[in-house]
């Protein structure tokens, strides 16, 4: 018995709320789905769709030795790093990247070379140089970090002895 009035009150409350809403604002014609279907899946921004290639290469026919690389599911992290290194790479006369729209997880990298190497090879060279630099960074960091930790431990010990 005590449950029944509660249900009636809830129904009444909903009815009252609906009635109030008709007067104050537009009433939704259809109830909202529990999960809004226009929200894109998070994976769409991270994982390649089935059949989607990581990099699309489009040869720029307006200029010699120029190409536009479209990287899918990548952002400024890779784009800016590659662009900056390409500008320092030999035989590259133009390198720039752009993200066409902030909601699309892709960037375009446009490269023109002097003809001695292809734009594709320029990207490969730049990537390899970066991989190598990152390897050096990794080793340098490990070395310095261990040194700092050892120094900290030595300091600690000295303090303990002093006390």
């Amino acid at each position: 018995m005590p449950q029944r009035p509660a249900i009636i009150t809830a129904t009444a409350a909903i009815a009252r709320e609906r009635a109030g809403r008709i007067g104050s604002g537009p009433h939704p014609r259809h109830p909202r789905p529990a999960v809004p279907d226009d929200v894109p899946d998070v994976y769409e921004a991270i994982l390649l769709a089935p059949g989607e290639s990581k990099i699309d290469v489009e040869v720029d026919t307006r200029l010699p030795s120029a190409a536009i690389f479209t990287f899918h599911k990548e952002d400024h992290t890779l784009g800016n790093m590659l662009r900056h290194r390409l500008l320092k790479t030999a035989h590259v006369i133009f390198a720039a990247y752009r993200v066409p729209h902030p909601l699309t997880p892709e960037f375009q990298l446009r490269i023109q070379t002097d003809g001695d190497i292809t734009p594709r090879q320029a990207v490969v060279n730049a990537s390899e140089a970066l991989i190598k630099d990152l390897g050096i960074l990794s080793r340098e960091f490990t070395k310095e970090y261990e040194l700092r930790k050892a120094a900290n431990a030595a300091n600690q010990q000295q303090q303990n002895i002093a006390e």
């Binding site: 991270i46 890779l78 290194r85």
Partner: protein
């Protein structure tokens, strides 16, 4: 690829200034801004960690709704020791739903007998097997080892749930972030004038310099401004939230960048097999380069030479490729 050696004979240099259990402060030099910023971005967004992702609620008579509790549980930092190597993403795993290679199961069961009971992260208990003996433990950094508060229960209230922790990155959801913050600064004296300070009377007096300014000299005001100067010294302050050691966060960030670049290389060199754009140019490299042969070099220097030879021979012929033999003519561009 020898010209790269001439550009940067030594490569990136690191000075670790402070190393604490949950924090590392270092100076990165001899790199460019884009490189340093990419490292920062990848540490923030793409270092894999472990976080609770699926909560099965058996009983919840607390005042908090199920979704509320599930969201709170997701935020709790879990030990992600060796997460990148040991654990697979559940979406990539061969198992039916989840297994020990792609997840860690934790259980939470608390019932209040009297008064008010606080449920803390330490009450999450790993059940069943796990891939290594540290992964999945809730991180507790407070003196009493309680960890974050999940909820409070009144007399007779109970929560009982099974939680599934999965591997993920902060790109998907911020709960997988390994860092609370990454401090990043360059050019503390504003020698390069990348910052245009707002001021009332005197910018130098109103804007105190950061402590990093002690690490590099301020520009002489009498000297003319160098328009070609580029930043090459960066101050990082990486603060871990406890699921990964601070040095592991940096190393994982580096690995994640290397993987991106290695994918780029292997896709660009391997594309000929699929017959994508390029045509005859790609035919040149078929046979010379196996797309599967490329691995992100661990030792870096040693692997590069062997790889470089193969690429050089294959690409030496590329002068006659469509890129070179355009209507514009190869000769006019032969520098």
């Amino acid at each position: 690829m020898d010209y790269e050696m001439d550009l940067e004979p030594t490569g990136p240099q690191v000075t670790v200034r402070e190393a604490e259990p949950y924090r590392v402060d270092f100076r990165l030099t001899a790199v460019d801004l884009a490189f340093a910023n990419s490292l920062r971005r990848t540490i923030l967004a793409e270092v894999p960690t472990l976080a609770l992702d699926l909560i099965e609620i058996e009983s919840n008579t607390s005042v908090l709704p199920d979704e509320f509790l599930a969201h709170r549980l997701g935020m709790i930092p879990l030990n992600s020791y060796n997460c990148d190597q040991d654990l697979d993403y559940t979406r990539d795993c061969d198992c039916e739903d989840h297994c020990v290679r792609c997840s860690v199961t934790l259980s939470l069961h608390a019932r209040c007998g009297s008064g008010i009971m606080s449920v803390y992260a330490r009450d999450l208990i790993v059940v069943g097997e796990r891939i290594n003996d540290k992964i999945g433990d809730p991180v507790t950094t407070d003196p009493e080892n309680k960890g974050p508060l999940i909820c409070k229960l009144r007399k007779g209230q109970e929560i009982k749930m099974t939680c599934l922790a999965k591997k993920g990155t902060a790109k998907e959801h911020a709960k997988w972030a390994p860092t609370a913050a990454v401090g990043f600064e360059y050019d503390p004296n504003n020698n390069l004038r990348h910052v245009d300070y707002w001021y009332e009377q005197d910018a130098a007096k109103e804007w105190p310099v950061s402590e990093n300014a002690a690490w590099e000299p301020a520009a002489n005001p009498d000297q003319p401004f160098d328009y070609d100067a580029e930043p090459n010294c960066f101050y990082f302050d990486v603060e871990s939230i406890g699921n990964l050691e601070p040095d592991m966060i940096i190393q994982q960030g580096i690995v994640s960048l290397q993987r991106k670049l290695a994918t780029t290389v292997s896709v660009l060199l391997g594309e000929g097999e699929d017959g994508h754009a390029g045509g005859a140019e790609d035919a040149e490299m078929m046979g010379a380069n196996d797309p599967d042969a490329y691995e992100p070099p661990e030792g870096i220097d040693g692997n590069m030479t062997a790889y470089g030879n193969g690429a050089a021979s294959a690409w030496g012929a590329s002068a006659q490729t469509p890129y070179g033999a355009t209507p514009y003519g190869q000769s006019s561009y032969g520098f």
